[in-house]
Symmetry: C2
Subunit: 225 residues, 2 copies
Amino acid sequence: MPALKPRDTATAMTRVDLHRLTPPVDQYLGHCAALHLTFFEQLSHAVANAPRIADKDALTVVAGTALRRYEALVAEIERRKLDRSALMEPHLHGVQEFERRTMGADWHEQVASAHVTIGFLTDFWMRLAAGLPKDARERVEQALRIGELDAPLHRIVQRAIAANPRLSSRLALWCRRLVGDTMLQARSALAVAIDSRDDEEQIEPVLTELIAEHTRRMDKLGLTA
Amino acid sequence: MPALKPRDTATAMTRVDLHRLTPPVDQYLGHCAALHLTFFEQLSHAVANAPRIADKDALTVVAGTALRRYEALVAEIERRKLDRSALMEPHLHGVQEFERRTMGADWHEQVASAHVTIGFLTDFWMRLAAGLPKDARERVEQALRIGELDAPLHRIVQRAIAANPRLSSRLALWCRRLVGDTMLQARSALAVAIDSRDDEEQIEPVLTELIAEHTRRMDKLGLTA
């Protein structure tokens, strides 16, 4: 498990390091939009399964935020006069397979998954935006900053654990299991030359930093990462 | 089957007739918000099941509209310093049971259901708003007018039928079956005195008009109502 690094140092480092692996802008937009459509589906699922109306309501707001980010990404696709469906299509199978693998067996695992995977991947795509052309980069970063996902999902999971402390160990295991699939989903977005040792060396510190963020997220919930 | 009436006349008539049966404003807001949460769930379900990405994308926009209407209704609840969860809770079981009964066996039935039931009930709740205190009425009517639901859902169902004309007869039967449950859901919102013949006489022309709107919706799809 990598040690936690001071956030600013690590971010500065990865902002420098990752941009070489950013895919072309149309590919970035298609994959990131397809992923946000999947975030929306994942969150809507959690809305439908929420046992208490207060959680249902809070998750509805979160799903709405994911939807607004999706719409902002699609607006950038439209601005470039590209076809949104054609751009998302090649990425749909991969993100849906990812969603299926990380869905969870019950509502508690679903909201923990949403918190962990959406948190991790939003950090990742934000860093990856550094390699986009300047105008696209600014609008994409704006899109990914719409509303809040991390804090409200944290509160929902925290409330669930507080109501039933015995959930902790099961959720800790489940969240650890999610990291592998989430890292593979992140990697699938990178423009990596096959067998390039240089590229691999670029990726490593970024994943390390993202895992440190993940650990911080788990710590805040009192879960062992 | 009632004859189609000119829309303006019918609306003017029902606006006069229905407002006596409008429930107190807190009950109206709690039921209408719970219903919109259910619309959102129903539409998200259709997003997840959409076979083509273009439909997935179009339904996402529609789900977003239902969500914005929900948020506007909840904003009105908050403005009145009422507890949204407490207000929605008593209506949740009824609307979820309604959703379950009208969900449909596959994606085609799901989008047809969304078109028919959301169209019918939005017309109904809009008419019912006539009996609210003036300030609440204006804001509720604004909330129910946010974006568009009827036209985009029409286009999605129409596209599905065009791609597979043999769907028509199955969907026509399915949509006819939906009307009963949808009318019962509408009735459950009315402040009707038990066994009041006067109240029943108030309701009849409104339901007739709503069924006429339903028939018009089916006609536009080339389906027999």
